[in-house]
Symmetry: C2
Subunit: 419 residues, 2 copies
């Protein structure tokens, strides 16, 4: 009960703060972001000290090395947070933009204007840098933010938060401008997700289990991506050299991320020419292949047979499912059935096949002749990224400042009444 | 269990159909919409016969006359559905529109393209015309639709649905293009709202209880408006003649709808001049007033005292809460605290006060010198309306065809890989 009161109070303060933040001038916000960056830099030692505590606890709890790597901060990672905040200060402020304006026969002048969403809650797992990144993006877009990080990184998150909140206080911004739920109590999420009277949007960032939990519990709109099961389809009209480079990049360059390729599809007419060399390169890079019967037949390596479940799995690792298909249409059907609507590519020199693939693959980002690894706010030229959405409502694909805004209609009349 | 299987099958078919619908040409969709209109007209007798059954059952169940009025169809109401479908056929198809396009330094060409959302479920109450209206809008925007109407109008809904579905079948559109949950079993909604693997969006249309239920149960994104607690604020710089006309229109012209005024706020410096005449006009129109202490003092009529709860109530009736405020800022604070973020207006000749009101009132539609009654897809020039959103995600204010779309990124490369 006490916790519920506490969290409700935080949410109510965040809502109050959001009223002020929505009307802050861009130059004010930018000046404060620069101060935040400077103060975070100045508080480096405190942050690293707090992080050491978290790491010690993680080691004592026998958490995996991969987990500890995500949790660990060092000079370089703090420097990245600092330059992230400075980068956000330099981005164009989306708030106040006139999206559209028109007159209607009644004489009303309707202006569709970009405004902040209001209060955004971010629920994330182990990476402490999310704390600074999300505060920067939410603040720049005029939203107040409530952070709920993983309990394993709580000390690190609090230290980062304090460095930024000191700037909020120094500048007399309203209390509740930025907020952190500083408890390890797992009930906190359940409480937070019911506060739809105060919070406008929840963005969960983490593994599938977290995202499913948030979706199931939340009464607040959620934007999310469950999985990144990305495909590259090598068409019979592909430049096979290009296809080899794209497939290799999509799988190997950073296999742990959501825009890495998990399944490779090849048109049967080029499979015999393409697969042996490709699979050899993958083998050299340590990629385990799970192939369809035709792949097994063509391959000169000894490879595992793919089960149906392999085509539905986000390995996030050096494992790849491979399937030979009879047509671009079969590739499209496979991707829509087994994929996660994230990022999928065709490699082809045929314009009709390109256009059909772009139209019919139901994914956030559909590529012709490029690696799926480009699905990223920075690579898209958005200057930042708060997540990637595989939903279709509000935001789809890489989300940055603009996706953290809503709009309102401002309407000028001269005494109009409705007949 | 049988019901769950049935509804899941409907949702799966809807998803399959949506793949085809998303790529239908505009002229095809328009031709089919015209055929739907004609067939609905042709099936008029069947629809009216089915409606008679529903009305008889409603009377037997002693449902209110207001309820039966919403349920009842006649020649005129069928004609409105028919012309609604023809109107949607004439609207511009939003699907395929290029929203934005840009190049990035890697050489990728990024196109942000408007696409259908996919599968939309509409959960509604007694008005059978929603069946035809929603089918028309969903079909035109390339979405498949699953309808779940009120059990009291089931016969009417099925008759309308059949008239339109015959056209779907005749034109060999995929099964699942339009769908109706034709059961009175209340479990159907619970099942439907868990099918987030198939359904992309739920739009509930009805009273607050329905909308709260849908929001609490759904794992699918919901767009909704709970209430319409709309305000008109009469500023000390108002043209009081204009203010009287606007307030009268906002309250009296159609008190049962969501964009009607529920609370009127008046600057104290003009209250003594404005209120007596205004309240007299309201009295003549049968409006019951509930006023703040100052209103009671100024008024020459005998009026009720407003309780705090009155300012939070959507009367949908000839009842009005009235409050005298000390400043535009107090009006803004009152609206943001007690309102429902739907539609609010200021009447003033002062540009600063106008701009402050437009910026700070956190509502979907904010008016200067016009009645709140204009919040409507048709009045906004959108040509249609599937609902009004008081949410801030995806769509805010009147929703028409464009709000039934999402987007995807279509990206053209020439062999790019990520370094």
């Amino acid at each position: 009960m006490e916790l519920k009161k506490q969290i409700t109070r935080i949410a109510r303060r965040a809502l109050n703060a959001s009223r002020t933040l929505s009307n802050l001038a861009s130059f004010e916000k930018n000046r404060i972001l620069v101060e935040m960056a400077e103060n975070l830099k100045g508080q480096k030692e405190e942050v690293l000290r707090a992080n050491k505590k978290d790491i010690a606890a993680a080691r004592a709890g026998r958490l995996s090395e991969a987990f500890i790597d995500r949790l660990a901060l060092n000079e370089k990672r703090i420097e990245e947070m600092v330059s992230g905040l400075l980068g956000v200060a330099r981005l164009t402020d989306p708030v106040g933009e006139e999206i559209k304006a028109w007159d209607v026969p009644s004489g009303l002048q309707i202006h569709k204007v970009r405004v902040p969403i209001g209060v955004i809650a971010i629920i994330y797992e182990s990476r402490p840098n999310v704390t600074a990144d999300c505060i920067g993006l939410a603040f720049k877009s005029g939203n107040s933010v409530i952070l709920r990080g993983g309990s394993e990184s709580l000390n690190s998150n609090i230290a980062i938060f304090k460095a930024l909140d000191a700037v909020v206080k120094k500048n007399n911004l309203p209390p509740g401008t930025i907020n952190i739920i500083a408890t390890k109590d797992r009930q906190a999420i359940n409480i937070l997700l019911k506060l739809n009277d105060y919070i406008d949007l929840v963005i969960p960032r983490g593994g599938e289990a977290l995202i499913k939990k948030v979706t199931a519990l939340s009464r607040i709109p959620v934007i999310k991506h469950y999985k990144g099961i990305c495909h590259v389809y090598v068409d019979d009209y592909a430049d096979l050299n290009m296809a080899e480079k794209i497939c290799f990049n999509a799988k190997v360059q950073r296999p742990g991320v959501c825009n890495a390729m998990e399944s490779m599809l090849i048109h049967r007419d080029v499979a015999a020419r393409f697969l042996p060399g490709m699979l050899k390169k993958f083998k050299e890079a340590g990629v385990e292949i799970r192939g369809c019967p035709l792949t097994l037949k063509i391959s000169k390596e000894r490879i595992k047979k793919a089960k149906d479940a392999d085509y539905r799995t986000e390995y996030s690792d050096l494992i790849l499912a491979v399937k030979v298909v009879a047509s671009p249409q079969e590739a499209i059907r496979h991707i829509n059935k087994y994929g996660s609507h994230h990022s999928d590519a065709i490699v082809t020199e045929d314009e009709n096949n390109s256009r059909e693939f772009l139209k019919k693959v139901d994914s956030a980002c559909v590529y012709v002749n490029a690696s799926t690894r480009f699905t990223d706010g920075h690579q898209f030229g958005l200057g930042a990224e708060i997540g990637i959405s595989t939903d279709k409502l509000h935001a789809r694909g890489p989300m940055a400042l603009e996706e953290l805004t809503s709009y309102k209609y401002a309407i000028w009349g001269s005494g109009q009444v409705r007949e």
